[in-house]
Amino acid sequence: MLKILKYSFYDLIRSRWSYVYLLFYLILGFVLLFLNNDLSKAVITLMNVIIILVPLIGTIFGVMYYYNSKEFTELLLAQPIKRSSIFIGQYLGVALSLVMSLVIGLGLPFVLYGLFESSAIWDFSLLLITGAMLTMIFTALAFNIALYNENKIKGFSYAILLWLFLAVIYDGLFLLSLIIFETYPLDKFTLIATVFNPIDLSRILILLKLDISALLGYTGAIFNQFFGTSIGLFSALGMLLLWIILPVWNIKRKAQKKDF
């Protein structure tokens, strides 16, 4: 599997898009710091960007890589290599190269700005960890979608729809249901609704750490009240981890049964 990972990783490192992505984060980091002039404020703005954009990039790169590497996959399938190694290796190649772009692209400006002397370092690290997890999650979801859809255009559309749903529509529906079911006790419902959306989970995770109750919102407050800050933090992290493990496990399962 390591060999497959290596080849996928190099393949992506050589591609122009990795650099565009890296450059984007570099610019974003510098611009935010320049505008905010304050590390902790920049971290909050950054959170909002990361939570929406990282899933989108993970999704697009995931489907794109899967479909574009069809030939490579076919070649590998005829070799004495386990199917799980082929697909998990490719997945990790994409996810890790994206994580690397994210960490370098954002890390560099912040480090230059004096991150290591700042108290924001833990908040910033958590932000990067969350970003990394979101990348892993959405790349895995994208691979799943691509595995189930031979048709490239269909797969692409479903992937974008999934992102749109989780990043935008979900919150709207959630708020709507809060208004409609106003009179019912909604704590449990809220908790469950959050757990089923990795983007919401990430937002709460970061806000819990930043300890900004004003921004926490209804969901976050319930989370806080239900678990307390530190347990809330760890359970959110745990659930994000599950969001990685389950789709990756399904990649393995589906790849085992597919004809090539």
């Binding site: 497959i4 290599i81 049964k257």
Partner: protein, 235 residues
């Protein structure tokens, strides 16, 4: 030796193989014939574990094939359609496959033989169809496995390359290998095959030597013999 036991395969509702039993002897050249879409490639891919059959077992040297596919290290396979990652160079591709298989390989003699030296640094997406097929052949024959499976090896080759291929196959046969080949070029099959099977409507319609097929159909040449079978079946 390869043994196929009651192999069934369908894609969706489309039944392709409906109970294939076959024993492919340890030594010699074994040809699989059949019209387009009769399931030759499907059968080969089942042997390789690239396609997952509904039913049936495959044994290689008496051992049931394992779904992890590691048994493929004893098989050299030439796919029917040479799909390569377009952004790689020929040399890079050869190096990569060698690295992935991690066994002894000798590609240089084959590169010479098929005149591929000028193309070594070219990107695969920029090669002509026949040149790609030559690269495909190098990737297959550079390893020294006991079993060789060739799906339409002649596709796109010029006469010189074709002669080279025939020689190459004869050399491998002389080493006592199991060679499985599909082809629609009957003269090619006649020239090399020790035994043939004819696949029709999901089953094995005929198995035997070319001579036996001639006798069965009362035709002298193979092309007519096959055409004869097909006509009879349509009537």
């Amino acid at each position: 030796m390869i043994k196929i036991d009651n192999l069934h395969k369908k894609y969706g509702k489309n039944k392709i193989l409906t109970g294939v039993d076959l024993e492919i002897p340890e030594k010699g050249i074994f040809a699989i014939l059949g019209p387009n879409g009769s399931g030759k490639t499907t059968m080969i891919k089942s042997i390789l574990g690239m396609v997952v059959p509904e039913k049936g077992d495959i044994f290689i040297d008496g051992q049931k094939t394992h779904s992890n596919g590691l048994y493929r290290k004893n098989i050299d396979y030439l796919p029917q359609i040479a799909n390569f990652p377009g952004n790689l160079g020929v040399k890079e591709l050869i190096k990569m496959i060698k690295d992935l298989r991690d066994t002894k390989a000798d590609e240089n003699a084959l590169i010479q033989r098929f005149g591929l030296t000028p193309f070594l640094d070219k990107k695969l997406s920029n090669l002509s169809g026949g040149t790609k097929q030559k690269v495909n052949l190098v990737l297959t024959f550079m390893f020294d496995s006991q079993i060789i499976i060739l799906d339409e090896p002649t596709t796109g080759l010029d006469p010189v390359a074709l002669l080279n291929l025939k020689e190459l196959i004869a050399e491998e046969k002389a080493k006592g290998k199991t060679i499985l080949v599909t082809s629609h070029i009957m003269s090619f099959v006649e020239g090399i095959a020790d035994e043939i099977v004819f696949l029709l409507e999901g089953k094995i319609y005929f198995k035997g030597s070319i001579q036996q097929l001639r006798e069965k159909t009362n035709e002298v040449d193979l092309e007519h013999a096959i055409a004869n079978i097909l006509k009879e079946n349509n009537a």
